[in-house]
């Protein structure tokens, strides 16, 4: 790259990626490409998201992007704006199939798998049908029957909730092992017995794990799972503070705020906006499309679990 033509922003964008180590060997045996980045439907939102598929090992990987404000990379003899770090982590492809089974399940009848996994917007979902192991795991979420040696499947909400409960349980184990801080509450040990603290903590772990799993299922199913796990509703007093009575007065109403402050704010806001250059705007657009921000993993869940 040294001495190369200076292309400024036109230089090819360098992506910093963390990939499972074994993928190095995946491309060793075969010279034909078996690793593909494809656009598939995100099972939570239904929108397009980028996934990595290893067609040889028949493995699916989720792409998550870690982005922190005001960061950039030096890479060898170059600078890369944005400071993004991409993760490709193994993903259970059953979450993707569940997205289609839920749709087909509304008809309430048995169907062959190749009629369930159909998507005009994301036709590459059919690549998942080349995973033989995946068909074996369908029993976790469907009732199946066989006619003339062909298999038919119908979505089962009972089985799915049991499967998701197991997912939550193994996630709780990992949260504890990783010492993830799941509760924002500050508790004084002087006021609580060990047992009570332990019980409250357990609920926080389950709630946090439920939030993580909810990234892979639609909201409706997430609510059903919450009930299935017997997670209590947040206390009503916290969400609905008692409203104050309106104070009435005979005195004439006078302006209490200096509205010129807002003008000042607008000017400041304008200044802030003008600082963002065209390059930064373009970068912001590119980076966000099709990729889920890992901030959602850390920030949003903390908000959910935080209690006042």
């Amino acid at each position: 790259m040294a001495g190369g033509r200076d292309r400024g922003d036109l230089a090819a964008r360098q992506l910093v990626f963390l990939l499972p180590e074994h993928l190095k060997d995946a491309s060793k045996k075969k010279k034909k490409s078996s690793l593909l980045f494809v656009k598939l439907a995100n099972p939570h939102s239904g929108e397009g998201a980028t996934y990595l598929i290893d067609m040889c090992l028949q493995q699916l990987f989720e792409i998550k992007v870690f982005k922190e404000k005001h960061h950039s990379w030096f890479i060898n003899q170059s600078v890369q704006s944005g400071g993004l770090l991409h993760f490709a982590t193994p993903m259970d492809p059953l979450f993707l199939l569940l997205h289609y089974l839920l749709k087909a399940g509304k008809e309430g009848k048995y169907q062959p798998l190749d009629q369930v996994v159909v998507d005009d917007t994301f036709p590459d979902c059919t690549l998942l049908l080349r995973f033989p192991e995946l068909e074996k795991s369908l029993r976790h979420v469907t009732e199946e029957k066989e006619v003339n040696s062909k298999k038919y499947y119908k979505y089962s909400s009972e089985k799915t909730l049991k499967w998701l409960e197991k997912k939550v349980n193994q996630t709780v184990v990992a949260l504890k092992a990783n010492n993830v801080n799941v509760g924002a509450r500050v508790q004084s040990s002087a006021y609580f017995s060990g047992g009570q603290v332990s019980r409250d903590k357990e609920e926080d772990y389950v709630r946090y794990a439920h939030g993580l799993i909810s990234d892979y299922i639609p909201k409706e199913l997430s609510d059903d799972l919450s009930k299935f796990l017997k997670l209590p509703e947040p206390p009503a007093s916290l969400t609905n503070p008692p409203s104050k009575k309106l104070k009435l007065s005979d005195e004439p109403v006078e302006a209490k705020e200096d509205y010129t402050k807002f003008n000042t704010k607008d000017l400041k806001t304008g200044k802030k906006n003008s600082k963002m250059t065209a390059a930064q705007k373009a970068l912001a657009k590119v980076d966000k499309s099709g990729m889920k921000s890992i901030d959602a993993f850390f920030g949003a869940k903390n908000k959910k679990t935080g209690k006042i």
């Binding site: 790259m1 040294a2 190369g4 200076d6 400024g8 230089a11 090819a12 360098q14 910093v16 990626f17 963390l18 990939l19 499972p20 180590e21 993928l23 190095k24 060793k28 010279k31 034909k32 490409s33 593909l36 980045f37 494809v38 656009k39 067609m55 870690f66 922190e68 950039s72 990379w73 030096f74 890479i75 003899q77 170059s78 600078v79 890369q80 704006s81 944005g82 993760f87 982590t89 193994p90 993903m91 259970d92 979450f95 994301f122 036709p123 080349r130 795991s137 197991k166 997912k167 193994q170 996630t171 184990v173 990992a174 092992a177 990783n178 892979y216 390059a279 930064q280 890992i294 850390f298």
Partner: protein
């Protein structure tokens, strides 16, 4: 109506160039605690690297007159770091990805081929097992967000592991 670019985007595949992960040369990475608004070549070894000092307090450097404090961060176990670059659009892929005439390839032809004309390539140009994380005036420390992010792979492994049998 969708524009052709968008329509293609939903169906376009990006193939990882075979062998590029294994063949990627070691790369040196620094994560800086500031916005650099352009992506371009930079004389890092000429101006930044010589100024990095390693003393009892750890790594120190400066960038545009601001003091930086750094630490080495390892890639999570089981993972490898790569710098990836997407290759230019427009190059036809047919024939390019088939680097040998193995009999194995014939078996693949029974199914729809994975490569199409409008697909694109991405390849690894560098690999790394650790990088230097810099904080502005202070060492990032264990509370840095990037450390929490690096814990994601082990959580993801638990979420996506197969459930135990009944």
């Amino acid at each position: 109506m969708k524009n052709p670019e968008e329509a293609a985007d939903g169906k376009q595949r990006i193939h990882l160039r075979p062998g590029s992960l294994r063949g990627a040369a070691p790369a040196k990475l620094h994560l800086l605690p500031c916005d650099v608004l352009v992506s371009r070549p930079a004389p890092v070894d000429r101006f930044f690297t010589p100024a990095v000092r390693h003393d009892a307090d750890g790594l120190q450097a400066s960038f545009r007159g601001r003091g930086l404090r750094g630490e080495e961060v390892a890639v999570p176990p089981g993972f490898a770091g790569f710098v990836m670059v997407t290759e230019e659009k427009g190059e036809g892929l047919i024939g390019k990805l088939n680097f040998s005439g193995d009999a194995e390839d014939k078996a693949d032809e029974a199914q729809e081929p994975l490569e199409r004309d409008f697909d694109r390539l991405i390849g690894a140009t560098g690999s790394f097992s650790h990088f230097t994380l810099w904080g502005l005036e202070t060492v990032p420390g264990p509370d840095a967000k990037v450390h929490r992010a690096l814990g994601w792979p082990s959580l993801a492994a638990a979420i996506h592991a197969q459930v135990p049998e009944d």
